[in-house]
């Protein structure tokens, strides 16, 4: 689960990590009410779940109240990579003396939380990682000891020279780790972490992701969740035991198992089609899941053909066939559907489907080719 920059800022502040003063606004009126008529330089930042908002014009400086109002009115409602900007963060701009990067992530290889830090902070950190990986300091954190004070200080000494900055950064790293662990985070970045001209160490921009599997024990984080229409579909699907991600193609697919679903999408592309979605109905044999899945698939107006690919293991093919028959009785559709059933009770399932007149094939490749052909 992702949150907005302003929400990450709120968490930082709650854990004592210094951030510039600021607040989120949903309307131009709120900006007008918030910003006093002073000479403070401010920055107005679009709050959307999309990268590259700076290049898209979603980040603007404001030298006056009038400026702030004007820029906020430009940014609010703007479209960034398909996301409409509904909120802006209005924050005091600070005089930056130097930019740094610090981040925490769950690392598959070390099976631990890894702390990363670099004196080359700012937007180009990914470029730094590629070109000069030696400039990224990495530390694998022992989960039972946690981030020890001396470790945080050792990292801070690699970034800063002035002991005042070292102490401030040590403190920030410890607090970021605490925040990370206590919220079941999977990614927490401060980029840039800066030294201001006044000598303060501060988090200017932040990003946090959270473990969906741990949301059951993270009510405060869950309360921050904001979803787009597409994401809502994915969440609804999830609640029905389905894993669904909408894509832009025209071949809807329904598969059991994530790996097989991905392989199915690959197959569609391999034969020149474009998948309309990723849809995994999971391992159960409940016909209702098939009905729900078909409803989702056929509700997508981009879908021109549907490919059903089931390998029966725990899932029984006759159950899938049964669900499909009920679904097709409920949802009358003209969209062509190709069915491939293999494995447990495939024979029975295929027998049941005969009455529906749906085209059935025996391999994944055939199914993909047939679906593409029918979609044209």
């Amino acid at each position: 689960m992702k949150i907005h920059e302003y929400q990450a800022r709120d968490l930082f502040r709650a854990y004592g990590i210094p951030v510039p003063d600021g607040a989120v606004c949903h309307t131009v009126d709120e900006v007008r009410a918030l910003v006093p008529d002073d000479n403070q330089l401010r920055v107005i930042k679009a709050q959307v779940h999309a990268g590259g908002r700076g290049k898209a014009g979603g980040v603007k400086l404001a030298r006056s109240k009038a400026d702030a109002i004007e820029n906020a009115s430009k940014i609010l409602g703007m479209d960034i990579k398909g996301y409409t900007v509904e909120k802006v963060l209005v924050a005091n701009a600070v005089d930056i003396s130097k930019e740094f990067y610090v981040g925490l992530i769950n690392d598959r290889n070390t099976k631990s939380v890894t702390l990363m830090a670099s004196a080359e902070g700012g937007v180009e950190i990914e470029e730094v990682a590629k070109v000069s990986p030696e400039k990224i300091i990495k530390l694998s954190i022992n989960p039972v000891a946690g981030l020890m004070d001396w470790q945080a200080r050792e990292i801070a000494f690699k970034l800063f020279t002035d002991i005042k900055h070292v102490r401030a950064a040590t403190d920030i790293l410890k607090k970021l780790y605490k925040l990370y662990i206590e919220t079941d985070s999977t990614l927490a970045e401060i980029n840039p972490l800066v030294i201001t001209e006044q000598g303060e160490v501060m988090a200017i921009d932040g990003k946090m992701n959270f473990d969906d599997n741990a949301l059951f024990r993270q009510d405060d984080i869950l309360a921050m969740r904001e979803v787009t229409e597409d994401e809502q579909k994915e969440i609804d699907a999830n609640e029905k035991g389905l894993s669904y991600i909408k894509l832009d193609g025209s071949i809807g697919c329904m598969v059991n198992g994530a790996g097989l679903a991905m392989a199915t999408m690959d197959m569609i592309k391999l034969y020149g089609g474009e998948p309309a979605n990723f849809l995994d109905i999971g391992g159960s044999s409940n016909p209702q899941k098939v009905i729900d899945a078909m409803n989702i698939l056929l509700g997508d107006t981009n879908v021109k053909a549907v490919m059903i690919n089931i390998f029966g293991g725990i899932t029984r093919c006759d159950d899938v066939a049964r669900g499909l028959i009920i679904a097709l009785e409920q949802i009358k559709t003209d969209i062509p559907i190709v069915v491939r059933l293999s494995g447990t009770n495939a024979k029975e399932g295929l027998e049941m489907l005969k009455a529906t007149g749906l085209p059935t094939v025996s391999t994944m490749s055939e199914a993909a080719q047939k679906a593409i052909e029918l979609s044209k």
């Binding site: 290889n109 790996g259 569609i268």
Partner: protein
Amino acid sequence: MSILINKETKLIVQGITGRDGAFHAGKMKAYGTHVVGGVSPGKGGQHIDGVPIFNTVKEAREATDANASVIFVPAPFAADAILEASFAGIELVIAITEGVPQQDMIRVMPFIKQNGTKLIGPNCPGLITPGECLIGILPGNIFLQGNIGLMSRSGTLTYEVVNLLTENGLGQTTCVGIGGDPVAGLYYQDLLQMFEDDPKTDAVVLIGEIGGDAEEQAAKFIKEKMTKPVVAFIAGQTAPPGKRMGHAGAIISSGSGTAEEKIKAFGDAGVPVAKEPSQIPGLIKSKLGL
């Protein structure tokens, strides 16, 4: 021969009185696995389907001398169940449960390492040595005894591939589903080493996915350490770039994680990568000179 499990394996089922635990305990028994006990706190002393139930893993281990445990307990309690098995001295723990929080698994790791426990999963379908022992939720009927080792991050895709192997007369020594979670137990390298050391295994099939760099690490390992042929398949070659990873994701994996990079890594290691699952049996046969 085989790796990890065989005819001698004695299994207990943690969460045996739950819906999934009870169902699959029955299936495993039917396949021939020695299901010697189950654990369900408060049901100790009872039996289910002839299998004795214990309150704790320690009791179960002491009474049955079990050396493997399969975990079906719900996600919030799965990490604790792994620890209980590990501290009770169970050598091989297979966690089927999906949805285990990542921090829980990170906290488990130092202890299972310290205790010398081998962990598979969580969020995995289990493993099978065909004709000898099945642990987990794999459909036993599609497997065939033979000389191919298989490891996979996915479930049904594995069955798809195994079915193709079996249809082509390519039986398996052991097939292991390592699970799809970011923080998991045994990885490709661990299993590759075991297959390399297993005299019965002649070739290995590796089924990977996009994301992370487990496949790149495996390719490196194969290049440096493996003498036996390996054939790979990567699912998600055409999936849109991962929506969930930020800067740090790119940094930590040093730019890897895409299908292209994985395919390139395997290419460098002399490992042919199938374009679609149906090519796998052919690639294996040509590697084995069949």
